[in-house]
Amino acid sequence: MIVSRRESWLGRIMLIVLMLVTVLPFVSLFVTALHQSGTYPSGLSWPQTPHWSNFVNAFKVANMGHLLWSSAIIEVGVVPISMLISTLAGFALGHLRPPGGRIIFIGFILGLTLPFEGIIIPLYYQMRDIGLLNTRWAIILPLIGLYMPFAVYWMRAHFINMPQDISEAARIDGANTWQLFWRIHVPLSMPALSSLAILLFLWTWNQFLLAIVLVSDPMQRTMAGALGAFQGQWGTDIPMLCAGSLLILTPTLIIFLIFQRRFVSALLQGSLKG
């Protein structure tokens, strides 16, 4: 491709400026967190003596250990079950193609663009009636349902591209549908499954609305939900708030940096498919 020198430099400068705009808020958050607790520093200034202890304090005050545990429980409740049932459904709709499958699939698609705000009130009463309000189940169960449109869509898109010949071969060798699924198709679907797992993990970890509406005790919520309560409590103590926010976004940051490539491609594909 022919690209003139001037154009290329313009692009580079723009890219660097945009990267700065993206990163500077993080940097500002970090240096502010190092200031003396209770002071009101300016946006980007290195403190005279960095107070590293702020992080320790924020960890203790926010009860971060417990929050990590709570988030982990919710993740364990949501992700494996969502993966299992959506993969089964995606396999059936994309590969076995039962009669009426098309209509079922369109039914799932309809939920794809639903903002959670639209159904939060009925969910609240529904959870209250089952008696699960203010327990972690109130986050876990609705999330599984709410992920179904995307997860089924994602897995169906994967299975529809699997050649039927594989299944024919397996059936001739005497495999029934169950064996076909577990022995042949699940191992072949690992890339699609891991991308889905990453997306579901991230969305659950960052889920805020369901957490603060359906669970009033911050200690039973996800990390993001607890951050809301933390802000309510420490909103006036800027360095403390910054330290707390940093601690809460660190886990996703670490996981992102480890699985970077897969993350980016999963999210890009995810939105392209969705």
């Binding site: 039962p98 499958g101 159904i119 039927q164």
Partner: protein, 304 residues
């Protein structure tokens, strides 16, 4: 690819055209297909059930509630469309919907326009080291909780924050203010947070789309004497129709679901300047803002 499709066709002929089979054989084939179909439906059932209980039923309830006057505890009464009419007569409610639409401009148009511009500027070196680093960095806002983005930015936009610091540095000290507390700037300031969160995703989606465009098209255009502007409008933009649609869909949904950011950054204030439907629904739920769930329901239904 070609080989695969001929193979599947061959197989289909072998199984679905039972030309030489007897009557009974045909019947057993059909029975097997029915059995497999039933099995497939059973496999869909768990996902379908979760979806029905936690998405379809609530949607139906939302629609149903919207025709009733109900305080959430005592018996409800049918009021027809009056809740929907109330949206237009109650400035607080209609205002929140107008705000949501204003946010769409910031959440959707800005990231997509800026993303198009940037992606176009860097497509020439999309595989260079700088661009690979940028891919990771620009993605950061997507993976942190929106709540964290809200906290982060309410600090940057405050009186002492980074934004004002930068403005002073470039000699614009006169316009500094508490951006989220000012009646005129609160909503755009919230919009800027959303644009910051969504820009990276849009840019990368569009860039990915641009790398799929055949370079020969550009070379042919250059040979014909087209400038960069002409190239952009005649080749790049038309080829990206799908990606742009996706970006707009994703960002409009994000704008309608802007609850997280608004809740953290402004709680709807100052006044009702940044009130959005999501926030009203939350207040209705928690009963902190005069609990009138029956009255508020339509605002949620209106969201597509």
């Amino acid at each position: 690819m070609g080989q695969r499709s001929t193979m599947t066709e061959g197989r289909r002929e072998a199984t679905s055209v039972p030309r030489f089979t007897t009557q009974s054989r045909r019947r057993s084939l059909r029975a097997r297909r029915l059995r497999r179909g039933a099995l497939a439906l059973i496999l869909v059932a768990p996902a379908g059930l979760a979806y029905l209980i936690f998405v379809i039923r609530p949607i139906a309830m939302t629609v149903q509630y919207s025709f009733y006057k109900w305080d959430g505890v005592t018996a409800s009464t049918w009021v027809g469309l009056s809740n929907y009419l109330a949206i237009f007569h109650t400035p607080e409610l209609s205002g929140s919907i107008v705000n949501a639409f204003e946010l769409i401009i910031f959440f959707s148009l800005f990231p997509v326009a800026l993303g198009l511009f940037t992606a176009n500027a860097i497509r020439g070196f999309a595989t260079s080291r700088l661009a690979v680093v940028a891919r990771t960095v620009l993605f950061l806002p997507q993976i942190i909780p929106l709540v964290a983005a809200g906290i982060m930015w309410s600090w940057q936009l405050s009186t002492n924050g980074l934004v004002n610091q930068v403005l002073q540095l470039v000699g614009l000290g006169g316009v500094t203010r508490a951006w989220l507390g000012d009646f005129d700037t609160a909503l755009p300031a919230v919009g800027v947070i959303g644009a910051w969160v969504l820009f990276g995703l849009c840019m990368l989606l569009l860039l990915a789309g641009m790398t799929k465009i055949d370079p020969a098209l550009y070379e042919a255009a250059r040979v014909d004497g087209a400038g960069p502007l002409r190239e952009f409008f005649s080749i790049t933009l038309p080829s990206l129709r799908q990606e742009i649609t996706v970006c707009l869909t994703v960002t409009v949904i994000a704008a309608l679901a802007s609850f997280d950011i608004v809740y953290i950054a402004t709680q709807g204030g100052p006044g009702n300047r940044t009130l959005v439907p999501g926030l009203e629904i939350y207040y209705a739920c928690r009963g902190t803002h005069a609990a009138r769930p029956g009255r508020r329901r339509p605002s949620s239904v209106d969201e597509p």
